[in-house]
Amino acid sequence: MNEFLKKIASILEVDDVKGTDEFKAFPQWDSLSVLSVIAMLDASYGINLRAADFGPIRTAGDLWNLVQSRKGS
């Protein structure tokens, strides 16, 4: 998960992101960041998400859990 959080932090242009951090709290969290996260998940984890999949996602930890569940399927 550390590696994952580092990638999220890099997209949000901050030093670090914790699993409990809410995406909405970051001023850089906009449609461009969503697209960057989608591209990162595809390139690094082979997972294809749509923006609609982000609906129930609040925190970086929520997203990590979604990534884990998709990897298993």
């Binding site: 906009d30 390139a43 609609a52």
Partner: protein, 355 residues
């Protein structure tokens, strides 16, 4: 769906772009976003300059300008055109077909086929497939394929999802018989169940334009757009391209007995630099073999961006020599299509400006 065509070739490509240039930095104050985020968008997507028509310019104007240019220089004769195909989503009128308007304005012969094709960003490959099919007929010796759109006129200046990437332009491609025993392979897929990802909701017969459809609405993320405007679900389109296009091209190359290495250039529709670089990464194709520089210079003008990638990057190479190219278009519909051919020996390959 797979296609193959023997003894046919592209013999010339001309692109027409409006002279009117806009800059992202000048226009970003229209968006309700912090300047730093807009600059980030510019950097990631590769937005910079783009070419837009003035408000009254139509697709037939761009097409007539390009065809007159070819006639005047003896690069094409009026009477040798047996079919004129126009791929556009911004026709001059609902009725008649814009291809007929172009035929009439240019005084072309009556003994020919004019056909409008409503296709989006896959429209260069789809149009080529139609042109090649027509050339199977004895009576059809030369087909002129026009791709053009002026969709900047249907985008909201306050919609950061789509406004900064839109461009306008047209291309003219001549397709004819080849004296050599060449073969062109193509394939395409369509999925109408995802048609809402790219659409203009109002203005047709389902929802005619009215004062209500012209009202700007807050569509989230600080973007304002009316139902008369083109809308794009950017992340759905990104996802679609990354998931569907690599296997399509893989299957095309396999059916042709070709490999990534035997292709000199992958010439794709040009949505933005970001999407094309991610596509190249996924396909393990070096960036140099997949040009992605059209949007930063001209914007995304729909199906004419693929020929623009050709005239902007490979003009000299394709006039004096040949390349093995894989073309790929993908977009509204949804439609995704690819084509493998030996391209070169072109009698013209250039770009002109529409004043």
């Amino acid at each position: 769906m797979n296609f193959s065509f023997r003894r046919k070739r592209i013999s010339g490509v001309l692109t027409v772009v409006p002279a009117n240039e806009r800059s992202f930095v000048d226009e970003m104050k229209n968006f309700n976003f912090p300047e730093s985020r807009s600059l980030k968008l510019k950097e990631v997507m590769g937005y910079d300059k783009r070419r837009l028509v003035e408000q009254n310019v139509c697709v037939s104007d761009l097409a007539v300008c390009g065809l007159e240019y070819l006639f005047q220089r003896g690069l094409l004769c009026r009477d040798e055109i047996d079919a004129l195909l126009l791929v556009t989503q911004s026709p001059d009128h609902f009725i008649p077909p814009t291809s007929n308007i172009i035929q009439g304005r240019l005084g072309l012969k009556q003994d020919m086929l004019c056909l409008d094709i409503n296709q989006a960003c896959a429209g260069f490959v789809v149009g080529l497939i139609q042109a090649l099919l027509l050339l199977e007929q004895e009576s059809v010796r030369k087909v002129v394929l026009i791709n053009g759109d002026v969709l900047s006129r249907k985008t909201s200046p306050k919609d950061r999802n789509i406004y900064p990437l839109m461009g306008d332009g047209a291309s003219i491609t001549v397709v004819e018989r080849d004296t050599e025993d060449s073969i062109i392979h193509a394939n395409l897929k369509m999925d109408g169940s995802r048609h809402e990802a790219l659409m203009i909701p109002a203005g047709g017969f389902r929802l005619p334009s009215s004062p209500e459809t012209a009202v700007l609405e807050d569509v989230g993320d600080n973007n304002l757009r009316a139902k008369d405007h083109l809308r794009m679900d950017g992340s759905a389109i990104f996802n679609f391209v990354q998931v569907e296009v690599p296997p399509l091209i893989e299957s095309l190359l396999a059916s042709a007995g070709a490999t990534n290495d035997s292709v000199d250039y992958f010439l794709c529709h040009q949505p933005n630099r970001f999407m094309l670089q991610k596509l190249a990464d996924k396909m393990r194709v070096p960036y140099i073999k997949m040009p992605s520089n059209v949007v930063e210079h001209f914007g995304n003008g729909g199906s004419a961006t693929l020929p623009l990638a050709i005239t902007f990057n490979l003009a000299d190479q394709l006039k004096s020599g040949h390349c093995q190219v894989c073309l790929a278009g993908f977009g509204g519909g949804l439609v995704w299509a690819s084509m493998l051919m030996r391209l070169g020996g072109l009698s013209f390959c250039e770009m002109i400006e529409f004043e």
